[in-house]
Amino acid sequence: MLEVDKIVATICGKIPEGLTFEPSDINLTDYFVSTTKGDGEEVAFVSEDEHEKWTKAHLIVPKYPIDSHVVAIDSTSVTLGQLPDGLVGAVRASIIMKPAGKTSHSLERYGPYLVPVTNQNKDLLYRAIYTAVYGKETKIHAPDCFKTLDRVRNLLERHIQLEVAKHYGSSLILIDGSLIGGTVADPRVVMRKIIADSASNGNAIVAISKSTGLTLQQTKRNILSLLDGVHGPCYVEGIKDHITQNKERYLGHVYVSRLTPLGEPFRLDIPENTPIPHSQIFTQVAGLAGDYGYPEELRLAHMTCVLSSIEILELQSAAIVLHGLTMKEELRTKLFPL
C-alpha cells in the first residue's frame, strides 16, 4: 500500500474533550450519504468561431484494454456532525486496479479517517496537510469548516494521485475531475508534477468529469451539449484552443466524449505527452466504459470509497468516543416530542 501515515497523522488531530456534538441526520435506508465534491469549477467561456469545423465528432472504436494495467482513483468526504465551532468529518480514498492480462479488480482503500475541523484549528490543519502533500509551505487561510474538510479530501486524493503516478508504470490512470492547475486548492506545480511523473513512468493519465464550468460563449450552454443528439462512441477535440479565459490553467487537452453509444457525455482532460496517442486512449477508455458510458474502474473506485449510512453511524460513535464528545440534545425534539 502507499505511504499515508504522515498525512493521516496530520489530519487526524485531537480536539479538546467534552465538546458537544450534534450528529448529522442519517437515514439508514439511504444507500450512501451524498456529498458535494470540489469547490465547483469556475465558469469559463469557449468561443464558437468556425463552430462547424472544430466541433466535428470523431468516432471511437472501443477495445477492452486487456493488456493494460488500469488504475482508477476516487475519494469522498462527509460531515459526521457539528461541534460548537466546527465539525467532525471523515475522508476515504479508493484505488481500483485492473492488472494487465486480467479482467478482475483489486482494491486499496485509505480511510476512513476522522478529521476534526474547527475555526481554531482549520488554518493550521490546512497548512499542515498542504505542506505534507505538496512539500512546500503556504500562508493561505483555510475556507469555512465544510470547505476545509473538502480541501482535506482533495489533498488526500492528490497525494494518492502523486504516489500512483510515481510508483506505477505503463498504466492507464483514471482520475475523477479535471487537470486544472493554478487554483488555490491545486497549485499548477503539483498538477504538472502528477502529469510529468505519469509521463516519465509511461503512464497515460485521464481525468474524467461528469460536469464542467466550461460554457459555450454564444449559447451559454455547457460544453457537454456539443454532443447533444450525437450518438457515441465519439469525442470532440480542440476545446482548449477555444477557451477564452485563463487558458494556461488547463494542463491537458480538453475533450467532450460519449464513450458508449447511448451513454452520458463527459469531459475528458488528457495531458499532451502521453505514451500512446490520444485516439488510442479513447479506444481503451471507451472499452472500459460500462453503464451510462462511465469507466467501470472509476465507478468501482467511487462506489468503494463513499461511506454507507451504516458506516457513518459507526463513525459518529467512534468520533464521540475518540474525542470525548457529549451528544447535544436537540432543543426542538425536547420542546416538541411528537
Binding site: M1, V8, S106, L107, E108, L114, S309, E314, L322
Partner: protein, 484 residues
C-alpha cells in the same frame, strides 16, 4: 442489551458482539425470565446495500488502511445481534413457613411493565436459575454441562425420572447419552432392563476390549440361543412353567377359543405349580385323541423347539436379586428375528408386570431403543398407562419420534431431545406440551451430544445441555464406516 420488541411470549433483544450471549442462556429483564432460543443478525435498514458494496471487490483482493482508533468500530453495526428470547416466567421472592425468604421460579406473566429504554437485561447465572428452579445437584455431578455463557454441571436426578423420551437424529448422541444415563442409574442402585436391538449395550461392562470396568459385576447380558454362559453373557430361555397357556398360545399363534387353545389350557391346568418343559408338553400332545388338534399342537411344539427360546431359566430370581443391588439386564435382540423378538419382549414385559404387581420388585427402569420395532402399539400403551403403577419407568429412545404413539407424548414426564432438522419431527416433539415449537426449533442448531432437557428433571424449565464424555466404558453404538 436493549429490548426491541415483544410479540406474544417472545422478546427480541438487540446486543453487540462484545456482549456474550448464547443459545440456552437465561436472561433476567427486570424480574422477567426469558430464555434465548435463537440468535440472528440485527436486520438494520441499509445493511444489504452496505454488504453488497463491500462485495464489489473480492475480500482477498482488498487491502485497507484504516485509522487505528476507528478500526474496532467499523462494521460493528453490521455485526449487531438480535436474540429471540422466550418468556418463561418470573423469579419471585417468597417466604417459607419459618419466614425465610427465597427466590422461586413462577411460570406465566400477567404483568408486563418493563421499559425498553431503562430495563436492565442481564444473563442470569445458572446457579441462580437452578436455585429458583429447586434443582439441587450432588457435588460430583458430571452428566453434562449447561450450554450457556457460564456453563454449569448438570445431573439427571434419578428420583425425577418417570416416562422419558430420549430422541434425536442419527449421530446426534442420543444413544450415547442414554448409556450415560444408564450408568448413572447403576450408581444410584437402580435396576434397568434394556431391550437392545443393535447390540449396543453389550460391552458396557468393559473398560476396553480385554478389561472389565467398575460396572462389570452389575451388567448382565441375556442372549437367546446362547449355548452356555460366558463372561457377562448368559443364555436366555423362557421357562414354560413361568408363563401361562395364554402367553404360550400368543407366542405360537394359537387363536383363543379353538380346540387347540383349549388343550393348551388343559395341559397348563393339569401341571399346576409343578416344573415342566416342552418334552412334557409333547408327551401331553401325543395323548390327544383328536388327530387334527394333535397335529396342530405338535406343529406348535416343533416350532417352539426350533425357535430355541423355551427352556429352564432363573430369570425371575435374577431380576429380583439384581433389583436389590441395582444394575443392568440387557436383552440382546440383535440376532433374533421379528417374531422371536416379539416373544422375548412380551415375556419380559409380562414378567415385569407380574413382579411389580406382586411386590417382588419395587421399581425398575426400562430402556426401549426403537420400541416400535418390537413392541406392539397396545403393549406400548400398556407400558405407559398400567405398568407405571407397578413401578416400571420406561425410557424410550428413538431417532424418529413420529413412530411412537401419541400417548407417549401426552404422558411424557421428561424429554431429552438432541439435534433434529426435520420439521415434522420437531412438531411431533412439541406435542408433548413440555416445550413450545419455537424453542424446540433450536434443536436445529445444536451440535452432537448437545440437547434440550425438559420436564421433571429440570422443573419443567428447558435446559440446554452438552453431555459429557464417559471414561472407562466401551460405549459402542458407533456407525461403522464403509471405508476406513
Amino acid at each position: 442489551m436493549y429490548l426491541l420488541t415483544k410479540e406474544a411470549d417472545e422478546l427480541a433483544i438487540v446486543y453487540s458482539p462484545e456482549e456474550k450471549l448464547r443459545l440456552g442462556d437465561t436472561l433476567t429483564i427486570d424480574g422477567i425470565i426469558a430464555q434465548v432460543v435463537d440468535i440472528h443478525f440485527a436486520d438494520l435498514p441499509g445493511v444489504l446495500e452496505h454488504i453488497l458494496r463491500k462485495s464489489l471487490v473480492a475480500k482477498a483482493e482488498t487491502k485497507e488502511h484504516i485509522q487505528p482508533e476507528v478500526k474496532s468500530v467499523i462494521d460493528s453495526l453490521t455485526d449487531q445481534r438480535l436474540a429471540i428470547a422466550k418468556i418463561r416466567g418470573r423469579i419471585v421472592e417468597v417466604s417459607d413457613d419459618k419466614g425465610n425468604k427465597k427466590k422461586v421460579f413462577k411460570t406465566g406473566l400477567s404483568e408486563f411493565n418493563i421499559s425498553r429504554a431503562r430495563a436492565e437485561i442481564k444473563v442470569l447465572s445458572q446457579d441462580d436459575l437452578f436455585d429458583a428452579l429447586g434443582l439441587c445437584f450432588p457435588s460430583s455431578c458430571d452428566f453434562g454441562k449447561t450450554l450457556s455463557s457460564e456453563p454449569k454441571d448438570f445431573e439427571i436426578l434419578a428420583e425425577r425420572l418417570g416416562i422419558n423420551l430420549i430422541t434425536g437424529m442419527k449421530g446426534s448422541g442420543k444413544s450415547y447419552s442414554a448409556k450415560r444415563l444408564l450408568l448413572k442409574l447403576i450408581e444410584k442402585r437402580v435396576l434397568t432392563l434394556v431391550f437392545d436391538l443393535n447390540a449396543e449395550y453389550l460391552n458396557l461392562w468393559k473398560a476396553d476390549e480385554k478389561t472389565p470396568n467398575k460396572y462389570a459385576e452389575l451388567v448382565k447380558v441375556f442372549t437367546p440361543r446362547l449355548r452356555r454362559a460366558q463372561a457377562n453373557e448368559l443364555p436366555f430361555f423362557i421357562p414354560l412353567n413361568e408363563i401361562n397357556y395364554d402367553d404360550f398360545a400368543t407366542f405360537v399363534n394359537v387363536p383363543q377359543g379353538t380346540p387347540t387353545y383349549q388343550h393348551l389350557m388343559q395341559f397348563w391346568r393339569e401341571r399346576g405349580e409343578t416344573q415342566f418343559d416342552l418334552n412334557d408338553l409333547e408327551s401331553f400332545v401325543n395323548r390327544v385323541q383328536n388327530e387334527a388338534v394333535r397335529m396342530a399342537l405338535q406343529g406348535r411344539v416343533d416350532a417352539a423347539r426350533a425357535v430355541g427360546l423355551f427352556g429352564p431359566s432363573n430369570l425371575t430370581n435374577f431380576i429380583t436379586d439384581m433389583h436389590k443391588t441395582g444394575g443392568v439386564i440387557v436383552f440382546n435382540l440383535a440376532q433374533v428375528g421379528r417374531w422371536e423378538r416379539g416373544i422375548i419382549v412380551e415375556f419380559v414385559l409380562r414378567k415385569l408386570a407380574q413382579l411389580g404387581q406382586s411386590g417382588a420388585i419395587r421399581a425398575v427402569s426400562l430402556f426401549l431403543e426403537e420400541a416400535q420395532l418390537y413392541v406392539e402399539r397396545q403393549n406400548m400403551v400398556n407400558i405407559l398407562t398400567r405398568m407405571r403403577h407397578f413401578g416400571i419407568f420406561p425410557t424410550f429412545i428413538t431417532n424418529d419420534p413420529r413412530t411412537l404413539p401419541d400417548e407417549v407424548f401426552t404422558l411424557l414426564d421428561n424429554l431429552i431431545a438432541f439435534m433434529f432438522r426435520n420439521e415434522d419431527e420437531l412438531r411431533q416433539l412439541a406435542k408433548s406440551g413440555l416445550i413450545d415449537l419455537k424453542s424446540i426449533n433450536a434443536l436445529k442448531h445444536l451440535e452432537s451430544r448437545q440437547c434440550i432437557a425438559v420436564g421433571n428433571i429440570t422443573s419443567n424449565y428447558p435446559v440446554f445441555i452438552e453431555v459429557n464424555p464417559q471414561a472407562g466404558v466401551v460405549m459402542g453404538g458407533e456407525t461403522r464406516k464403509l471405508v476406513i
